[in-house]
């Protein structure tokens, strides 16, 4: 589903963000990318979204080599990858429902499809009563639910999340993680970059640990830190 072949990313001339990273993620997997700030987690997420190009190596998403995707095809690529960010990235002038609907409008779906699908998905993330609220009227956890609903509404095969609980308190975080877990259970490949130690330890999923741009550990049913 996602494959990194010897990927190196250098910012500027000398800031090495990733160094010869090899990583394979299969369809339907749930993977945590863990590591301290600056270890390269976000770089991996941004490379998957083709927000930038690797300095060396090749990245495959859904069987497509990203370097061969031309600029004008990027929107199509991104419609197959739902994304969730630490700062939610909601459109401030749109209500919760409109934010979710926007992700369907960009793919040119019918108004009626959008009209039935949006309430369903907002209900699924537990926000059926707040559809017409604007982002600044919602709590952080609620905003993150909206952004997950938006990422998932078109049912993309892959969902990537960059520090989805980074701005949230522990109780709210549990809810968000459960939501991601449910999305994974219906077959979506989920990649979560996080430094939320507790969460990773509780979930017992595959953990890929990064340190200064290198994969230092890759363990199925792992924990945040090495277990002695």
């Amino acid at each position: 589903m996602i494959r990194f072949d010897n990927v190196t990313k250098v910012y500027g001339n000398d800031t090495v963000a990733l160094e010869r990273v090899n990583l394979g993620i299969d369809s339907g997997e749930f993977v945590f990318l863990v590591g301290a700030s600056g270890s390269g987690k976000s770089t991996i997420v941004r490379l998957i979204l083709k927000e930038m190009e690797p300095s060396a190596g090749a990245i495959y998403v859904n069987g497509t080599k990203l370097s061969s995707v031309p600029r004008r095809r990027i929107p199509r690529l991104r419609r197959d990858i739902g994304c969730v960010f630490q700062d939610f990235k909601l459109l401030p002038n749109k209500t919760a429902a409109e934010n979710v609907a926007y992700a369907m409008e960009v793919t040119g779906q019918k108004r009626r499809t959008i009209g039935t699908k949006v309430p369903q998905i907002l209900d699924l993330v537990g926000l059926s009563g707040k559809m017409d609220k604007f982002p600044d009227m919602l709590s952080g956890g609620e905003q993150q639910r909206v952004s997950i609903a938006r990422a998932f509404v078109s049912q993309p095969p892959i969902l990537v999340a960059d520090e989805p609980t980074g701005n949230l308190d522990p109780t709210t975080s549990v809810g968000i993680m459960q939501l991601l877990h449910r999305i994974n259970r219906i077959g979506t490949t989920v990649v979560v970059a996080t430094h939320d130690r507790e969460m990773v330890d509780v979930m017992r999923k595959r953990v890929v640990a990064l340190e200064e741009g290198r994969v230092v550990r890759d363990k199925v049913k792992g924990a945040y830190a090495d277990e002695v």
């Binding site: 979204l49 929107p75 199509r76 401030p92 040119g108 938006r150 990422a151």
Partner: protein
């Protein structure tokens, strides 16, 4: 992908409502630019129309100072036989003086010290076709008339052109500069509004919006703003035209200025079209440039 006009228009209207100040800036900019452009068109249209109506003039006058009435009649008889000529009348010194007194009835100080002989006798020639005026003048010159003893339309046109050609070229130059300036100003106004919303555009791109999908509401927005600004300016130009023609009739009764020099309908259409064109072009350009950067 379906082109969802309702959605794009809705987005554009919502953006206009949410960015009222930016919209006012863009509308005002368009208004001023189209107003100046329209006034330029107005002035040049009137100058062209005045030159046109002089050109339509079918009279040639030949002045004969110190000529006997016999000489005047002889010339009149000869000229009457020319094929281009429709009619000929003679004006004696006395008639010329009387006419002058008539014209300036209310300003007697202009003529009370003048002798009758100041105004020469003349032959007034009416032509069939204004285009033959130069030929007739040429033939009169062969009869011994000099340029200063003749009055025919080309002289007026030459004199008008000597003054107005500079004015018109200056006007064309200014109009061109203004059009360039307005494209820059309007695209700058749009760039500002895009910059204010760059985060939004980035998010749109992240959830898979194509460049066209992001761009279209902005272009509609530019179109609507330009339409409002240009329409206001176009109506102002039409109104100023009427006002100006009225005023000039009072102030310059001898200058053939007429409202018909400017067709209000086509002027409206032209000005609005130019404004909307600039708005669409400007917004398209500035969004595209921004989209290339992210």
């Amino acid at each position: 992908m379906r082109f969802n006009l309702g959605f794009f228009l809705g987005e554009a209207l919502k953006n206009l409502r949410l960015n009222v100040l930016m919209s006012i800036t863009a509308v005002t900019t368009t208004f001023i630019c189209i107003l100046v452009f329209g006034l330029g068109l107005l002035v040049s249209a009137h100058i062209q129309s005045i030159i046109g109506s002089v050109r339509e003039d079918v009279s040639v006058e030949a002045f004969m100072p110190d000529a006997t009435s016999q000489e005047v009649d002889d010339l009149a008889n000869k000229v009457e036989t020319w094929p281009e000529v429709a009619s000929v009348t003679t004006v004696s010194e006395e008639q010329a003086f009387a006419e002058f007194k008539d014209q300036f009835e209310d300003q007697p100080d202009l003529y009370q010290d003048l002798d009758q002989g100041v105004f020469p006798a003349s032959v007034q020639i009416q032509l069939e076709d204004p285009d033959s005026a130069n030929a007739v003048a040429g033939r009169l010159k062969q009869q011994g008339f000099t340029e200063s003893n003749l009055s025919y339309p080309q002289q007026t046109i030459d004199r008008l052109n000597a003054v107005t050609s500079y004015v018109i070229w200056g006007l064309y130059g200014a109009t061109l500069l203004f059009l360039i300036a307005s494209v820059l100003l309007i695209s700058n106004a749009i760039r500002l509004s895009i910059f204010a919303r760059r985060k939004e555009i980035e998010v749109m791109k992240l959830v898979g919006a194509s460049d066209g999908f992001v761009r279209t509401p902005f272009v509609f927005e530019g179109l609507l703003q330009a339409f409002v600004g240009a329409s206001l300016a176009a109506f102002a130009v039409i109104w100023i035209n009427l006002l100006f023609v009225d005023l000039s009739h009072d102030a310059l009764p001898y200058v053939p200025i007429s409202t018909s020099a400017v067709n209000p309908f086509s002027t409206l259409i032209l000005l609005i079209a130019v404004g909307v064109g600039i708005g669409v072009f400007g917004s398209f350009l500035s969004v595209t440039r921004f989209l290339k950067k992210i």
